[in-house]
Amino acid sequence: MNLGVRLSGIELRNPFLLASGVLGETGESMLRVWNAGAGGVVTKSIGLSPREGYPNPVIVVLPHGLLNAMGLPGPGIEEFAEEVRTAVEGGAVVIGSVFGAGPDEFARLARRMEEYGVSAVELNLSCPHARGYGMEVGIDPEMVREIVEAVKSAVGIPVWAKLTPNVADIRPIVEAASGADAIVLMNTLRAMAIDIRARRPVLSNVFGGYSGPAVKPVGVRLVYEAYEVTDKPIIGVGGVTTGEDVAEYLMAGASAVQVGSAVYYRGVEVFRLLAIELSHIMEEEGFSTVQEMVGLAHG
């Protein structure tokens, strides 16, 4: 079964990409995921300078998903050159994820990623920013539009905008981001866990992002809503664990998916398993290309 897709001008051998922040901090891990069968790998979101991230605990394994507050650790964009190059030279399709405080920072980071040889750049629009209450940059349509425009005019490679689900209405944000070459939905849901015996939040940062099987119905909804207001390809993220989940996201309107927490649930082998499972579904349901399934649920 041919699982290839064309996404914002990039040919992918299959529609399962590694989601940002999961095994995307070292070049050799990215290569390993690529060799395990991913259609592409998105790097950990990288900022200008090195960051240690929050102190442990930074992850909570919840009954139905994962909660994390890593605090965007990373070596900073300069030192990250080596990691990207290792992955790119190893043959992987690499998408460079970046986060910044505003349009200029995003543009600078994207340019560096382009120099390192990534196939596309993904803008993590879910990091905290100063304006308005310390919420995420991605909840402010104007900020989203400015960042996307700044990066679009700074680089020649495709630009993907990754949005946060923590908004009342995703549609104006998707519209604001539609200058990008693809929309990535979604980042994690803001959530928390309290240990009742410790009588305190588990994460050192108190709040974290919720991912994994529990959040899939929210991700599918966002992709479905986005599909109705944009012509740009959409990449579905959130709880993708099996081939059925992939098919659901495709029918909601995604052209590809990203896989994060499932690396915990099913191991790095998840990419190979997804290919088997999706092929099987396509055979049974009479699809010969992935593209045929995209948006089918919109009737």
Binding site: L23, E25, T26, E28, S29, P50, L62, N68, P75, V263
Partner: protein
């Protein structure tokens, strides 16, 4: 979520080492580790050093978190998740165990559980830093070395390798301890075509194989390891560098 366990016993093992014992119904195998959390402090990885009905960890006080763990007493509570990671495999009939410092924490239950004829080489800085010697003697022959010669051979534990291989003729070598020591053990055994299992340490955050902070040459110490064997040839970073919490390389 963590499991909250009640501490049954705290044993002082050496100058700055204690064992903390608690009841945990989960199966724990030698080589695996817990992520251990004392609320208000950092969560840190600790090898399983007792695998029986009472599970346990053995902690050297080296910084704020391990010092906080040292203040615990019987009846206090401790938060754990895991055990995680790949255990030592039980193989060979004449295993040689080479431990440096706190490395014996992860190897001690292996020595106890291994059905073969075990020789343990145990290195420490001084006799005050030695621990588990009696425990190990109950199930293996033990040769001790200290850097200052206060007990056993004076010098690094690797000095004992030559004689150990000659006299014991091991068919498998297990090692855990300072990485420079393990590199030597690995080189020594490899030259003689003896298989090696070495337990690595890297900075751990998630403990479950997703954050990449502990990765070495594409292998996750928390999930593909901490015990590695044939992979060691591919792990370029072994003995050369580790990464700090931001992911930057730091020489070892």
């Amino acid at each position: 979520m963590h499991r909250c366990v009640r501490i049954e016993d705290v044993r002082r093992e050496a100058r700055d080492v204690v064992s903390i014992l608690f009841r945990d119904p989960c199966i724990a195998l030698p080589g695996q580790f817990y992520m251990v959390w004392l609320p208000g402090h950092e969560e840190v990885p600790m090898s399983v050093s007792f695998t029986g009905m009472l599970k346990g960890i053995t902690v050297r006080a080296v910084g704020p978190t391990t010092r906080a763990l040292h203040s615990l007493e019987a009846d206090d509570r401790l938060w754990i998740r895991g055990p995680y990671g790949r255990c030592y495999s039980i193989r060979g009939s004449r295993p040689l165990v080479v431990a440096g410092g706190t490395g014996i924490a992860s190897l001690a239950p292996l020595v106890e559980e291994h059905p073969g004829d075990v020789l343990t080489l145990l290195g420490a800085r001084t006799s005050e830093d030695l621990f588990f010697v009696e425990r190990l003697r109950a199930s293996s022959e033990v040769w001790v070395s200290t850097d200052d010669g206060s007990e056993g051979h004076a010098g690094p534990v690797t000095d004992l390798l030559e004689r150990a291989v000659e006299e014991h003729e091991p068919d498998i070598v297990y090692t855990c301890g300072p990485e420079a020591m393990m590199v030597k053990v690995y080189a020594f055994a490899s030259e003689r075509d003896i298989a090696v299992e070495a337990s690595l340490e890297r900075y751990m955050k998630c403990g479950i194989g997703i954050c990449d902070s502990c990765s070495v040459s594409g292998y996750r110490v928390c999930r593909d390891g901490p015990v590695f064997s044939d992979e060691l040839t591919e792990i370029y970073e072994f003995g050369r560098f580790r990464r700090d919490p931001s992911g930057r390389r730091v020489p070892i």
